[in-house]
């Protein structure tokens, strides 16, 4: 069981896109993944319910911090990986999701405000870890990167003091298309996601191997249970 929280106190760095990529890719691999949408916009849960076309995974929308805490606790009992998407501003539900996390992913796009808020989010995770008296690793994932531009290089340099993934996600249309098509990206975008998954496994943030799963359709979500 691994709880991965995707957080940033800045709106628009690609948290929901990352949650879609992780959830869809893990489901495609046969890993028992469940996604929790703690963003009031409900973008992840709406996408999972209406547009997503891959192997199903459980997805629940909950923004109340107390109910979210119980939902994370319940979901983590059954799922191998729990992915929690949070809102793009400091709020109690996001902090609870960080508290519950085994690791926190902080997407960041090239921009002054994004670097500042990524640093603040890293600090908040450190504060949560200190209060919880346990290690909660956090890493920044550079998103919408255009490697040839001075802006991307400068933003990466500005964030160099922060813990970072060596993988990054480029500024590719494929990621935006996923939001409308419900299909996991292939080609260059698919290769970037595969590299990220490999890095997450290398860090021990994701289980090393996947197992076959059974899926039980419910009214508005899909319950996931590991096959025995």
């Amino acid at each position: 069981m691994a709880i991965l929280t995707i957080a940033s106190s800045k709106g628009g760095p690609g948290k929901t896109t990352l949650a879609q990529l992780l959830s869809g890719t893990l489901a495609a691999e046969g890993t028992g993944v469940a996604a929790l949408d703690a963003d009031p916009t409900g973008a992840l849960s709406r996408w999972a319910k209406r547009l997503y076309e891959g192997l199903p995974f459980a997805c629940h929308h909950e923004v109340d911090e107390a109910r979210l805490a119980h939902l994370i606790h319940r979901t983590a009992r059954d799922a191998e990986v729990v992915v929690v998407d949070t809102a793009g501003f400091g709020n109690r539900a996001a902090t609870v999701a960080m508290t519950a996390a085994d690791a926190v992913l902080i997407p960041m796009v090239p921009g002054e405000g994004d670097v500042t808020e990524a640093a603040r989010t890293v600090e908040l995770v450190a504060g949560v870890a200190a209060a919880a008296r346990r290690d909660i690793p956090a890493r920044v994932l550079l998103n919408r990167v255009r490697p040839s531009t001075t802006l991307s290089r400068h933003a990466a340099a500005e964030a160099s003091a922060l813990p970072r993934f060596s993988s990054c996600l480029s500024d590719l249309v494929a990621y935006g298309e996923m939001g409308f098509s419900g299909r996991m990206p292939v080609g260059k975008a698919g290769a970037e996601v595969a590299a990220l998954m490999a890095e997450l496994r290398g860090l021990g943030w994701l289980p090393a191997s996947s197992v076959k799963t059974t899926f039980v359709k419910t009214t508005d979500t899909v319950a996931v249970g590991a096959a025995r």
Binding site: D64, A66, H73, R92, A93, T99, A130, V211
Partner: protein, 98 residues
């Protein structure tokens, strides 16, 4: 996973998650603010006569109601006071009043 059990520690208890989050970031707002029903309800608080008199004197001094004074003090402490409670209602017209 062939019936093999994980030896990892179970997820943190929900109550512990809430406690730790409250310690780490005590001033954060909820993700969604409840707007309530908008219905007026009565709040009754027993305090010493000295406090009640001081409250009345302060309200007279500032030309506002005691209710508004309390609402403003609560808002200053970060309590999500409804905007309607931060305004003084017009005094009711009394029979014979000019």
């Amino acid at each position: 996973m062939k019936g093999l059990k994980s030896t990892r520690a179970p997820a943190m208890a929900p109550e512990e998650m809430l406690r730790v989050a409250g310690v780490a970031a005590p001033r954060q707002p909820p993700a969604v603010v409840s707007v309530g029903s908008g219905k007026s309800v009565m709040i009754s608080i027993r305090m010493t006569e000295q406090t009640a008199e001081a409250l009345a004197a302060c309200a007279i001094e500032h030309g506002v109601t005691q209710r508004r004074l309390v609402a403003e003090a609560l808002a200053a402490r970060g309590v999500a006071v409804a905007p309607r409670d931060l305004e003084d209602r017009p005094l009711p017209r009394r029979r014979g009043a000019r």
